[in-house]
Symmetry: C2
Subunit: 329 residues, 2 copies
């Protein structure tokens, strides 16, 4: 079978199309005929060599997000049969190959039937970002008990799903935005009020929008200094949730507000083979929300075939994509 692999770390030009042996199915796993995959920042960070410890051995088949058709089911797999259309976030790291190939061996616990109302391209955009947003807003905190949420990066991969999951719980959604174009997208996703963080300081928008009280929940999908801005913007007893926290921060703002900081690292079940069933269950629930019209993926207009995956990486890394970047057949 054909696969797009990397045999050294480097920029988006390192992908090579090669022939690999089709994987054999094993107990608890399925073989997926891969029809689409989307890029998440972890994919190009692995490609760059930022996470050598968890990156697959060379030649590495990257990409975790997959949508496709079940080709074969292993012993003990009862939830799927040949021909089922599925989606999931599985493989693409050390020990389990990813979606940049014609056929992918995937743990059945990590996948679910894809939403009926979506194309393969659309379905492939969802798994990593929607599981991350779900864990952040539904598992780490109990969003329905909150009044409002501030989302940083609301038009990004995780952010745009977070906006929609937040609206499902009826909370008021605020979002920081850098341009009019992104403000328009954010509002179309359900954001109630946008804040241009380039013209207004944290204290200014906290005062203007919350009478100085801060937001019940602040969801940071940006990391770095934005974690400080998030701690500054959170209310007494509030919750900051971040998906990126490999940095040092003064925790005083949390102290003086009796607040909490939650970190979501969505890949844990994949990397350590723990609690994988939970991911499949979340994807089932996401599929229902999608088919009910409550959640839809935001996808960049540019289409890429598998042998052009390098160009797709280049677009996402440029920061100019509007929505998820998808590679499909």
């Amino acid at each position: 079978m054909e696969a797009q692999v990397v045999s050294k770390f480097g920029d988006s030009s390192v992908f090579e199309t090669v022939k690999l042996t089709k994987p054999n199915v094993k107990a608890g796993y399925v073989i997926i005929n891969v029809l689409a995959t989307s890029i998440n920042p972890i994919d190009y960070k692995m490609r760059n060599g930022n996470y050598p410890d968890i990156t697959a051995d060379f030649p590495a088949v990257l990409h975790s997000d997959v949508a496709g058709v079940i080709e074969e089911v292993g012993e003990g797999v009862t939830d799927f049969k040949k021909g089922d259309e599925v989606y999931g976030c599985a493989g693409g790291f050390k020990g389990e190959d990813g979606a940049l190939s014609e056929f992918m061996l995937a743990d059945a616990k990590l996948i679910a039937l894809k939403p009926n109302s979506l194309t393969m391209r659309e379905a492939a955009a969802l798994p990593l970002v929607s599981i991350t947003a779900w864990e952040a807003l539904y598992d780490k905190i109990d969003l329905k008990k909150k009044q409002n949420i501030l989302i940083h990066g609301a038009t990004g991969g995780v952010g745009h799903i977070a906006v929609q999951l937040a609206k499902c719980k009826g909370v008021k959604v605020y979002a920081t935005i850098s341009s009019d174009e992104k403000a328009k997208i954010a509002k179309s996703l359900g954001v109630d009020e946008v804040i241009n963080y380039r013209v207004e300081s944290v204290q200014e928008y906290v005062d203007r929008l919350t009478e100085g009280k801060g937001f019940d929940v602040v969801f940071d999908t940006v990391g770095g200094a934005n974690i400080d801005a998030s701690m500054q913007a959170v209310a007494f007893y509030g919750d900051v949730v971040t998906i990126l926290s490999q940095s040092s921060h003064d925790l005083s703002p949390l102290f003086f507000k009796s607040a909490n900081l939650h970190v979501v690292f969505m890949l844990l079940p994949l990397l350590y083979n723990i609690q994988r069933k939970r991911h499949g269950e979340i994807l089932q629930k996401i599929a229902k929300l999608v088919d009910d019209g409550a959640v839809k993926p935001l996808i960049d207009d540019n289409k890429f075939t598998f042998d052009a995956v390098g160009d797709a990486h280049k677009l996402l890394e440029s920061g100019k994509a509007l929505g998820k970047v998808v590679v499909s057949r």
Copy 2:
């Protein structure tokens, strides 16, 4: 009435005994005839001038923890009557005088009937530390869903109550300890396994006691570098709870474990007059646990009268007290 006040910031010698006008009761408040008060670190930090913004104006009547008898009730107060024996954490900061005087004006929402089975001295030891431990282990996290907890500072003020509240939920309690004497006290409080942190590294005791998995909950009552040790010791998806976080920390350990950091600053309801009723309710529940024999305060053997409050401060600051230091009539 007589009161022990500070008219300048300084060491434990700055207390002066003076005559002050007895406070008048007001709506929603009670006058307590103060029979005992205990010292918490925040009290000597205020005396030292570490928190000028929240310290009462000079001459300052410090101390939040109080036990005594209701002398008078204000308009609208229905939960208490003259003669009731009460305890609470109220006053001792800017705007509301504290317990170092014969009579104290206290918000009725912040107090509760004292446990019947305790003396005034014992009751005065409980409020701040037991509300803090309650918020940390019962409000911030849902301890009954956890398997185990590691408590740092288990024989300290907050720690010794935390051990007992943890045992009430049936979880296994581990505690770091620096001496055989404290190990014995910790075990008498209910600690299942003690760890001498002077002879064993975090990685060593995590490996030995949890097969390398870490602890579901780590409660840090020490602060500073101990927050790093706590993040190192927590399990995947685990919870670190701290009561001191005015410092900077690398959050990477939380990231790679998808873990959470919760901060408890118990004084918020006092300083900002929010959610005070919750404190009175917690004290009611603590009183029941005490009278049921599930929780008991640990009190240093040294007794101090009100005019010797400076000596009491000196003992607590020396780090040599074993249990709460109480001042009583």
